[in-house]
């Protein structure tokens, strides 16, 4: 390349920079003396599942608290709906009680009808 030769003829390729005497001899020792201890990656890897577990527990706890708070607080703005829910809840409870009160005789009677 002509232009590369032109630069070389003009300037050369010599390194014009210098360093203080003994710099490279001392650098490694100084560098290693200032190097901090490494935190092992194994420790981080081991801690990672615990962090995830802690995050899941927090989310579940917050969700549970929110659910209990919403389900225990009466909704004063919609009293009729609450009553309706209560009625339907009572009916279901009565039905369940009826089934619970079936005794052996009732079961035999039911089976013989079929």
């Amino acid at each position: 390349m002509n232009e590369e030769k032109y630069i070389e003829e003009q300037v050369g390729r010599r390194n014009p920079f210098t360093v203080p005497e003994g710099y490279f001899d001392n650098f490694a020792d100084q560098m290693m003396a200032s190097l901090p201890e490494r935190q092992s990656r194994a420790q981080h890897v081991w801690l990672r599942p615990m962090r995830y577990a802690a995050a899941v527990v927090c989310v579940l706890a917050m969700g549970a608290m929110a659910w209990f708070a919403l389900s225990s607080s009466p909704d004063v703005h919609q009293p009729l709906q609450v009553e309706a829910v209560q009625v339907s809840g009572d009916a279901a409870f009565d039905e369940a009680t009826d089934y619970a009160m079936i005794d052996n005789y009732d079961i035999y009677a039911c089976l013989s009808e079929e």
């Binding site: 590369e4 630069i7 014009p16 920079f17 710099y23 650098f27 490694a28 560098m31 490494r38």
Partner: protein, 179 residues
């Protein structure tokens, strides 16, 4: 010189990694220093950037998987650290090509023993964009192969050849305009 594979194995062993890293610092600090120095220009800055380079390499030891040579990996960190340093400090090395202060500053620097024309070359190099400057320095002074530079700069050989040609033309024009 200790075998690369042996050093790599030691770097992965928590009990041996510090000693192995010490070997790396001793073995490669001079080559890395000159790569850094040609970008940041002053010894004080080069010393700071080289310390940061080794510190970053030490902290990122787990990310080094031995796919490239150790020197290639370190050079990549060193070049990035040097260019980041210039950006962070708004250094004269990234000033406009009309700024004559770089050659004047270098000529007054006790750790620069170049001539006026050598200082002017550094000034011309400092006007180049990052990739052009990096490829020019590695090719012109260190005579590195494009394949090696490609691994360090993570750029294709074709793009590097183009960047080098443009850089050479710009620097030649710089000198011709001052003739």
């Amino acid at each position: 010189m200790t075998d690369e594979r042996e050093i790599y194995a030691q770097l992965k062993d928590p009990k041996q990694q510090r000693a192995a890293f010490g070997l790396i610092v001793r073995q490669y600090s001079e080559q890395l220093y000159w790569q850094i120095r040609r970008i940041v220009l002053t010894h004080e800055d080069a010393n700071d950037v080289m310390q940061n380079t080794f510190l970053k390499a030490w902290n990122r030891l787990d990310s080094f998987q031995g796919e490239s040579k150790i020197l290639t990996w370190l050079s990549r960190i060193a070049i990035n650290e040097s260019l980041d340093f210039l950006r962070r400090n708004n250094h004269p090395a990234v000033s406009t090509d009309d700024d004559p202060s770089i050659s004047h500053t270098l000529l007054a620097d006790p750790y620069f023993d170049g001539s006026e024309v050598e200082a002017m070359l550094q000034e011309a190099i400092a006007t180049l964009p990052d990739v052009q400057r990096s490829v020019f320095l590695m090719r012109y002074y260190d005579e590195m192969k494009y394949s090696e530079i490609s691994q360090i700069l993570n750029t294709s050989e074709g793009a590097l050849k183009a960047s080098y040609h443009i850089a050479v033309k710009k620097i030649a024009d710089f000198f011709k305009s001052r003739d």
